[in-house]
């Protein structure tokens, strides 16, 4: 195989893996949108908050230490060496469930039967609140997150692919980050687990029922409030997974919450109501971005990656507004 073709494959694979990361964020959006019709602008910040909490627990940070130090003129930062990773992840999950519960109790419950735009505005407020709250709680410095996943390039894969090119070619083999491979495996497991749960358990059935028809769900005895806590908890869990993957890849910092914006074109592509759509949409955006950067980028001076996804989304809005897998929008006249 020629090095040019191998390069193409390498870009393609890396695009797929970047796409998985987008899918993870988009998945959280779809879950909440399906069950409650709310477009949760705060999904990205939830991922950031989860990652911050995880790092904080892992490293034994005292929450609100800056605030405490400022008020009481103390100088505390850490309460100890920190928790083992597994325990820290479990505790973070508890925090995310508590967050879902508080949200339902103090925000959503007061906005039942309101227009979608009002709920959307509420999630924007939530995003800003959570961002500031996360900063206040854990500090705004960039943190490194290490949950013990392998990272760095895979030498084995490099050797294997080097052998595919002609002996005398100027080619060094493909680069694939081991972290991306872990992310892919984790994403596949997560999506499989979620779909099994929703297909084969009573709670999963209740979730699907609520997503389908609120009134009918109420009449068979499903408590919407309970379901919303569950859905937001699951979205919190997905945010945690996304936060871990993105945090491990590029550090836990504010820009993490901006990846949520990349989920938007993913959702427009895949459809707001479709879980497979979120995944395929993420993959298409990931691959499209990387290929465009590599092949069209040099012609226009690069940095295509930043806007390419939005252009694709725009094209989709023109020709297929419901996305690839979304429900057809049929208005009754």
């Amino acid at each position: 195989m020629s090095p040019a073709f191998l390069n193409f494959i390498e870009i393609f694979i890396n695009g797929l893996m970047a796409g998985i990361m987008y899918s993870l964020v988009a998945l959280g959006f779809v879950l909440i949108f399906k069950a409650s019709g709310i477009f949760n602008f705060a999904q990205g910040v939830m991922a950031l908050f989860a990652a911050l909490t995880l790092v904080g627990l892992q490293t034994g940070q005292v929450p609100f230490s800056h605030l405490i130090n400022a008020i009481f003129d103390t100088d505390i930062h850490n309460w100890g060496p920190g928790l083992p990773t597994v325990l820290a992840i479990l505790l973070t999950m508890v925090v995310m469930i508590a967050l879902a519960w508080v949200l339902e109790k103090f925000v959503l419950n007061h906005l039942i039967n309101q227009e979608p735009i009002i709920l959307f505005m509420a999630t924007i407020g939530l995003a800003y609140f959570l961002e500031g709250f996360g900063d206040l709680m854990w500090g705004s410095d960039v943190k490194t997150l290490d949950v013990g996943l392998p990272s760095g390039g895979s030498f084995w894969w490099e050797d294997v692919t080097r052998a595919w090119a002609p002996e005398d070619a100027d080619y060094w083999g493909m680069y694939i980050d081991k972290l991306d491979i872990s992310a892919t495996i984790i994403a596949v497991v997560l999506v499989t687990a979620l779909s099994l749960f929703s297909q084969y358990t009573a709670t999963g059935r209740a979730l699907r029922a609520v997503a389908d028809d609120h009134q009918a769900a109420l009449s068979v005895g499903i408590s919407l409030r309970k379901i919303w806590v569950i859905v937001w908890s699951i979205a919190g869990f997905v945010a945690l997974v996304a936060g871990i993957m993105w945090g491990a890849k590029s550090g836990v910092q504010f820009s993490l919450s901006l990846i949520a914006l990349k989920a938007l074109p993913v959702l427009i592509l895949g459809g707001f109501t479709s879980i497979p759509g979120a995944i395929v949409g993420g993959l298409i955006i990931g691959v499209g971005e990387k290929l465009a950067e590599a092949y069209i980028g040099p012609m226009v001076g690069g940095a295509i990656e930043n806007w390419f996804a939005y252009v694709v989304a725009l094209a989709f809005l023109l020709f297929r507004p419901q996305g690839l897998f979304g429900d057809r929008i049929i208005e009754r006249i």
Partner: protein, 278 residues
């Protein structure tokens, strides 16, 4: 998988009814008034539903029949009056609580989960009876598995009863209207309700489908002893099925009694023939 089902074992849906005897009031509606802004939907309506009977609620369009059902199962909260169900008085109740207390219903415009299969739709009817927590379900082991299988067994028998085996796995949205109505009845039966509210169960059906539905309703009432309140426009059906009829017009009760008594009530005749109200 320790579920033992004997073919001879009699299949009963009915829940124990907290000491309500056959023929005693199961539900008492007392002086209910409901308005939306300035529009009065229901004014001072009182009636009761006796355990074991089929009670019809009839009246011209806009008489407040569906509003009445919505009040009974908690979708609407009346401004005035009380509802006593199984001896417990209440003025407000959320719909999912009503379902938990044994009130199941169907809707005029069919409120099924269109993307889900017939089987899954009917399984949702049993949600109030499935108590295993989510963690067990997530593990899909032990108690949750047993529970799922037991409930599935009962749902399969409801499917048999309604003769819809052939469409068990079909997404409900693809079914013709008459079958959807039947599935909706199945879902409400799955809750083993003490009181079953049917909102126009035969609307839009042809004669044959109406006959089938009538038979199911009678069977449910007689075999399982379920108390039924139904709204229906087809007077022939109402007169044949129901034990007692309450007639509403412009949100007020204008008649209450056996089908024969109601048929001969002058107010009822006027309301249906459109005599002016002055």
């Amino acid at each position: 998988m320790n579920v033992h089902v004997h073919p001879t074992q009699e299949f009963r849906f009915m829940r124990p009814d907290d000491g309500i005897e056959q023929g005693d009031p199961l539900l008492v509606v007392d002086n209910i008034s409901l308005s939306f802004g300035g529009v009065k939907a229901i004014t001072d309506i009182s009636f009761d539903i006796l355990k074991g009977e089929i009670r019809a609620i009839i009246g011209p369009n806009g008489a407040g029949k569906t509003s009445m059902l919505n009040v009974i199962n908690g979708f609407y909260h009346p401004q005035k009056g009380t509802i006593t169900f199984r001896g417990q008085k209440r003025s407000r109740m959320r719909p999912h609580e009503a379902a938990n207390h044994g009130i199941a219903r169907t809707f005029q415009n069919i409120a099924l989960f269109h993307g889900m299969s017939v089987l899954d739709n009917i399984m949702t009817g049993r949600i109030t009876l499935m108590k295993r927590n989510m963690l067990w379900q997530a593990l899909w082991r032990g108690p949750a598995e047993t529970e799922e299988i037991e409930n599935r067994e009962i749902v399969e028998r409801i499917i048999d009863f309604l003769e819809i085996e052939h469409i068990r796995k079909t997404p409900v949205g693809r079914l013709p209207y008459g079958l959807q109505k039947r599935v909706e009845l199945g879902r409400s039966l799955a809750a083993e309700p003490s009181l079953l509210l049917l909102d126009e169960p035969m609307a839009g059906m042809n004669l044959e489908e109406k006959e089938d539905m009538s038979r199911y309703i009678l069977d449910v009432n007689q075999q399982f002893g379920t108390t039924i309140a139904l709204i229906e426009h087809d007077m022939g059906v109402v007169m044949d099925l129901s034990d007692r009829v309450v007639v509403l017009d412009y949100g007020q009760k204008i008649g209450d009694g056996t089908p024969d008594a109601v048929r001969n009530n002058q107010d009822v005749i006027d309301a249906y023939l459109g005599v002016s109200h002055d």
